[in-house]
C-alpha cells in the first residue's frame, strides 16, 4: 500500500490531481510559476479547502483531526513564518534542534540570534529543521533550497537523502531540474492545466 495516496484532489485552474507516493520516495513537482504547485502542496497538507481525497497509509485524512494530519504530513513553505523572537523558541527539544541545524550546515549559535537578523537562506534551513523535529512521515517541500548557495544546498540534499533512506516520503517543488534528478525518480509535471506523473 502506498504511503501517500492523492485521489482527484481539486486545485484551482487545474484538472483533478492524482498520484501515489511510496515510503522513501521523492516526487518532483515541476512546472512554470503560477501553475498551482504551491496550492497543490497546501491542499495535500489540508491548509486550503479542496475537494478530492488524500490517504496516509490507507487512512483518509478526514478520519483524523487536521492538527494530527499535519503532524504526519508536513508542509514547509517557501517563505516560512516565525512567531517568536529567536529560532530556538520554535523548537521544543534543544538537543535535537542543534543536531538538525548542524546537519543542515548551520551553527548552533544561530538558534539564539533574532530571526530578523538571519539571512533568507538561514531562515529557510532553520524552518526545514523545525519541520523535521517530530519526524513527519511525508514532507511537502516548496523550493527548500531556492535561497541557498551550492554548499548549503548540498547539505540540505544530503539531509533529504538520509530522510528518504529512513523511509520518509517527499513531495518536492523545485525549479532546479538537476536537483530533482538527484533526489527523485518520478516527476509530476504541471502544464496546460493538467498534472501528469512521469519518469524523470
Amino acid at each position: 500500500m502506498a504511503l501517500l495516496d492523492v485521489a482527484a484532489l481539486e486545485i484551482p485552474n487545474l484538472a483533478p490531481v492524482s498520484f501515489t507516493l511510496e515510503r522513501g520516495e521523492c516526487l518532483a513537482v515541476q512546472g512554470p510559476s503560477g501553475t498551482g504547485k504551491t496550492l497543490l502542496l497546501r491542499a495535500i497538507a489540508d491548509l486550503d479547502p479542496a475537494g478530492g481525497r488524500v490517504f496516509l497509509d490507507g487512512l483518509e485524512r478526514n478520519a483524523m483531526s487536521a492538527p494530527e494530519w499535519r503532524r504526519h504530513v508536513r508542509y514547509a513553505a517557501a517563505e516560512p513564518g516565525w512567531w517568536e523572537a529567536t529560532p530556538r523558541r520554535h523548537f521544543g527539544d534543544a538537543v535535537k534542534a542543534e543536531a538538525l541545524s548542524k546537519t543542515l550546515g548551520l551553527a548552533a549559535s544561530l538558534l539564539d540570534r533574532p530571526v530578523a537578523e538571519l539571512s533568507t537562506g538561514e531562515r529557510q534551513r532553520l524552518a526545514l529543521a523545525r519541520g523535521l523535529m517530530d519526524d513527519p512521515a511525508v514532507l511537502l517541500l516548496d523550493e527548500p533550497t531556492a535561497a541557498l548557495d551550492p554548499k548549503a544546498r548540498s547539505a540540505v540534499e544530503r539531509c533529504l537523502k538520509k530522510l528518504l533512506t529512513a523511509g520518509t516520503a517527499i513531495v518536492l517543488v523545485s525549479h532546479d531540474r538537476a536537483q530533482a534528478k538527484r533526489l527523485a525518480r518520478r516527476k509530476l509535471a504541471i502544464a496546460g492545466g493538467r498534472a501528469k506523473v512521469g519518469a524523470l
Partner: protein
C-alpha cells in the same frame, strides 16, 4: 433639585464654536468642511429627536417601549461596529458578531446593573434603563470595534506566522493565541485608560450631568463608579465574545486560516 435651564440662544452661542473647526479645516485645507457640517447637523437632529423620543418613552413606563428602544440602540451600535472595520467578513458576519455581542452585554449589564443593583420600581423604568444601556453600548461598541479591527488586521498581516504554526500541527486557537491576546488588550485599553483618568483628567459625562442637574457630588460619584464598573465588565465580555467569534469565523473546523472569508479592504 434645581438647575439653570438653557435657552436656544445659549445653544446657538455654543454652536458658534463649530466655526473654529470649520476655519481650521479651511486654513489648513483639511477638506473636512462637508463632513463637519454633516456631522454637526446629524448630531443636532439625532439628539433633538432622541430628546423627544425619551420624553415620550419615559412617560409610558412600558416594558415594550423600553425594550423596543433598547433593541434599536443595539442594532444601530452593531451597524456602527461594522462600519468602523477596515476589513470585514463577507456577508453579514461582522454586523452579526457586533450586534450579538452587544445584545449579550446589553441584556446582561442592564439586568444586573439596573435590575439587581440600582433597583428602581419597576426595574424596567426607562429613565434608568435607557441611559445605562446607552453608556454600556457606547463604550462596549468602541472596545468591540477596536478588538475586531486588531484581530482581523493582525491575521492578514501575520498570515505566514499563523499558517506556519498550523502547518506544524497547532490547533486554530493555539495558532491565533498571540493575535487574540493583542486584540483583547486593544479592545479593553480605552476603558482601562478611562478609569485611570476619571476624576483627575476629566469628570465623566454622566457625573457631570448629574452634578449640573443638582445631584449631590458624592451621590453622583457613586452612580458614576457603578456605571464605570458595569462598562468595564461589559466591555471585557463584549470584546471577548466578539473576538472569539471572529477567530472562529477566521478559521474552520479543519483548523485552516480562512482569509478568503474576508472582504477586500476599504480604501
Amino acid at each position: 433639585m434645581t438647575y439653570v435651564q438653557l435657552t436656544f440662544f445659549d445653544l446657538a452661542g455654543a454652536a458658534a464654536l463649530i466655526l473654529v473647526n470649520g476655519a481650521l479645516s479651511l486654513a489648513f485645507r483639511l477638506g473636512m468642511e462637508r463632513s463637519l457640517a454633516v456631522s454637526t447637523l446629524r448630531m443636532c437632529v439625532q439628539l433633538g429627536a432622541i430628546g423627544f423620543v425619551l420624553k415620550f418613552i419615559f412617560a409610558q413606563t412600558s416594558p415594550a417601549w423600553t425594550l423596543g428602544l433598547g433593541l434599536v440602540m443595539i442594532l444601530v451600535a452593531g451597524r456602527e461596529i461594522a462600519a468602523r472595520q477596515e476589513t470585514s467578513f463577507e456577508g453579514l458576519w461582522t454586523y452579526g458578531l457586533g450586534t450579538a455581542s452587544l445584545l449579550f452585554v446589553g441584556t446582561l449589564g442592564t439586568v444586573f446593573g439596573v435590575g439587581a443593583l440600582i433597583g428602581p420600581e419597576p426595574w424596567y423604568t426607562p429613565r434608568y434603563v435607557i441611559p445605562v444601556l446607552g453608556m454600556l453600548l457606547g463604550n462596549t461598541m468602541t472596545g468591540i470595534s477596536l478588538g475586531l479591527d486588531t484581530l482581523i488586521g493582525a491575521a492578514r498581516r501575520q498570515k505566514a506566522e499563523i499558517e506556519a504554526q498550523i502547518a506544524l500541527g497547532a490547533a486554530r486557537f493555539e495558532a491565533l493565541k498571540p493575535t487574540l491576546r493583542r486584540a483583547l488588550r486593544t479592545g479593553m485599553m480605552p476603558i482601562v485608560n478611562a478609569m485611570a483618568a476619571s476624576g483627575i483628567v476629566a469628570l465623566p459625562g454622566m457625573m457631570t450631568g448629574q452634578i449640573l442637574s443638582g445631584v449631590d457630588p458624592v451621590e453622583a460619584t457613586k452612580y458614576q463608579l457603578l456605571i464605570m464598573f458595569l462598562i468595564a465588565g461589559g466591555t471585557a465580555l463584549g470584546v471577548l465574545v466578539a473576538v472569539l467569534g471572529a477567530a472562529w469565523r477566521l478559521t474552520d473546523e479543519r483548523h485552516r486560516l480562512r482569509l478568503d472569508r474576508l472582504r477586500a479592504s476599504r480604501g
